[in-house]
């Protein structure tokens, strides 16, 4: 007897809806077992991780702050992944956007400038991210180099480039030798939404707009149709005269622009200056968000909020339960595995069958 996969006659609509929920449930159960092994009370741990942050208005705002870059990056990545284009260097594009936008903030620091500064910074950030993303896209289209590897290598390059700038030319002279730029001026900062309390900022609204625009692009435009077609049936797309190369450039540019925009919003919003620790891995976590959201813009919004919850819960658990912060990453990794496994069940079903031995044609 053995278990085998069998293709379903058609995609299972029930499992398509249920699969992220099953995956989350399985992850939570696995996590509870993990806590029990570590000698912690699993129910209390789950409460700290998933319920406690929701009970406090400050934590709720923090959740939106964390979800903002995740959702913005992930909707861009979804475009790529639907088209079967593998941009995994969003982290680098995030940093490139943060650096390009910060350039203006650093140049105008302390000068008497108008309110055009922040919009210009956001534009520069999006442009920087898009241009940085076009490097792997061009390498793929014109030279055939794997975009997976080149986009990832450029993450390390972007990190080191930013490190150079904040330790060298852009370092705050009054910053006691810390590797950071001076704090951005109020005109170069993303305003907060709630006066006085919390860090919820206008960037969250931009993220919501991004979700809507990508949803419209995917569902209501020819470009969106092309993206879906090239991903689902590359041969049919080629016969219809759609250029796969043009899509590689387009999806990389859009996802890079969104990641870059997320980068400058993060720097000009909650952080307020550029330093080597601005990202904390948003570009990689966004990959999980994209898949957990089933590459669907609305799904990604929910998935982004859920992963933001695990970040806040993880920080809470670190303080109140003395568990390492890396546990959050383990949680996210396990979650992604379950999501992928459950997604497979949309197309296939598992069946128990009797083993059939086939002769090996040794001479053939």
């Amino acid at each position: 007897m053995q278990l085998v996969l069998e293709r379903r006659p058609e995609r299972s609509a029930v499992i398509a809806v249920a699969s992220p929920l099953i995956a989350v449930a399985l992850t939570v159960v696995t996590f509870a077992i993990l806590f029990a092994i570590m000698g912690k009370n699993p129910l209390y741990a789950l409460w700290v991780y998933f319920i406690e942050p929701l009970t406090d208005p400050f934590s709720l705002q923090e959740m939106a702050v964390k979800a903002t870059p995740l959702v913005m990056i992930a909707v861009g990545l979804a475009l790529c992944y639907i088209a079967n284009v593998w941009n995994i260097g969003a982290e680098g594009q995030f940093i490139a956007g943060a650096v390009c936008g910060s350039w203006l903030a650093v140049r105008t620091n302390g000068a008497d400038v108008g309110y055009w500064v922040l919009p210009a910074m956001l534009l520069l950030g999006a442009l920087g991210g898009a241009l940085y993303a076009l490097i792997p896209a061009i390498c793929r289209v014109y030279f055939g180099a794997s975009e997976i590897l080149t986009s990832l290598m450029l993450v390390y390059v972007a990190n080191l480039g930013m490190d150079y700038l904040v330790r060298g030319p852009w370092r705050d002279p009054a910053g006691l030798n810390f590797p950071t730029t001076a704090a951005f001026d109020p005109v170069a900062s993303v305003p907060t939404l709630v006066e006085g309390v919390g860090r919820l900022h206008a960037g969250s609204i931009i993220a919501l707009v991004a979700v809507m625009l990508v949803a419209v692009l995917l569902g209501r435009t020819i470009m969106g149709f092309e993206i879906r077609l090239v991903g689902a049936a590359p041969k049919a797309a080629r016969f219809s005269g759609f250029s796969a190369n043009r899509l590689v450039l387009f999806t990389f540019a859009v996802s890079g622009a969104l990641a870059g925009l997320a980068g400058i919003i993060e720097v000009a919003g909650p952080i307020g200056h550029l330093d080597p620790g601005v990202s904390s891995g948003y570009g990689f976590t966004a990959i999980i968000v994209a898949f957990l959201g089933r590459l669907n813009p609305v799904g990604i919004l929910i998935a982004g909020l859920f992963l933001a919850l695990t970040f806040i819960g993880g920080e809470g658990a670190q303080i109140s339960m003395k568990v390492p912060l890396d546990l959050t990453k383990v949680f996210q990794g396990i979650l992604l595995f379950y999501v992928l496994a459950c997604d497979s069940l949309i197309v296939y079903r598992i069946r128990l069958v009797r083993t059939v031995r086939k002769p090996v044609h040794a001479a053939a």
Partner: protein
């Protein structure tokens, strides 16, 4: 000459983890599976390897723990991609994310701890030969094992029947299946082998390279190993040249800093990554004329129809 000897020794040390991980990944890809989780398997190998060596006091036990750590990660990948037909790119990314998190969790208890690094070989007279003695006869066991591994892989792929079957599975899984070869079982074995060697390559870092564990200490070596396989056009001989070339580039960075040439240190640190991008572009452009052996079924999902 002493400086040159020191440079060669450090290049060999920097290349060894790349060689271990990349040569095994070459076998995995030759079987038609693209496992992008090398970085995750390596960092798990580093954490498990250091933990094993620290608690037992033995490098050998540490190396075995590293192998097991890497193979366990590979098993998760294999079950998902081969058993459940999950997209290999996505599963590989998940493996790296999970590996980075888990290794941090395992390694948290060992940060700051030190162990005795793996001993170097010493043969009377031979190791004392000026200039070449230490380079040829004074390395640690990992270095000799990595060289033996590549030779064994070459023999396996090109001089054994099993290697021929493995290449057939990677080039055309439907035909191999029709001939009665157990495609998924062969691929699973290849994936486990890849994980074991990546784990050993990761374990080399805290066991022989630096005698302590730092979270994230593989620093992208797993990804460079993946690039090396492309660089080598899936051929073991070119892989050796590539691994030592990349080791040399990463060492160059340390030595130019020592000379103080006024180049920003970050630019030198970025060299291995920039070199990977440039090499990938050059290699991919000339693909076809350079005798690439890219497996035709690489990364494709295979579900046997019975």
């Amino acid at each position: 000459m002493l400086l040159l000897e020191a440079i060669i020794l450090s290049v060999i040390a920097a290349s060894t983890p790349l060689l271990l991980a990349a040569s095994a990944e070459l076998v995995v890809e030759r079987s038609g599976v693209l496992n992008l989780g090398v970085e995750g398997m390596m960092i798990m190998g580093a954490a498990c390897g250091f933990g094993g060596a620290y608690m037992s006091g033995s490098t050998l036990v540490g190396a075995l723990c590293g192998i097991l750590g890497g193979a366990a990660m590979a098993a998760i990948f294999g079950i998902l991609t081969l058993g459940l037909a999950v997209n290999q790119v996505a599963a590989g990314l998940a493996l790296t994310i999970l590996g980075v998190g888990l290794s941090g969790l395992i390694g948290a208890g060992f940060v700051g701890a030190r162990i005795v690094p793996a001993p170097d070989l010493y043969l009377p007279f031979l190791t004392d030969i000026p200039y070449i003695g230490r380079i040829l006869f004074g390395e640690d066991a990992f270095v000799y094992f990595s060289v033996a591994l590549v030779i064994a892989i070459w023999l396996f792929l090109y001089r054994s029947r099993a290697g021929l079957v493995l290449r057939a599975v990677g080039d055309n899984h439907a035909s191999a299946h029709a001939l009665g070869y157990p495609v998924l079982r062969i691929r699973m074995l290849a994936v486990l082998f890849g994980g074991a060697c990546a784990g050993l390559g990761g374990a080399f870092l805290p066991l022989a390279y630096t005698p302590f564990f730092i979270p994230g200490m593989t620093a992208g070596r797993g990804w460079i190993a993946l690039a090396l396989v492309v660089f080598a056009s899936w051929r073991p001989g070119r892989l050796v040249a590539g691994a030592y070339l990349f080791g040399a580039v990463s060492i160059l960075q340390l030595h130019t800093q020592a000379f103080g040439l006024g180049i920003p240190s970050q630019l030198m640190s970025a060299l291995p990554y920039l070199a990977t991008v440039i090499v990938l572009v050059l290699i991919s452009r000339t693909r076809g004329t350079a005798g690439s052996a890219a497996p035709a079924s690489l990364g494709l999902v295979f579900v046997p129809d019975r």
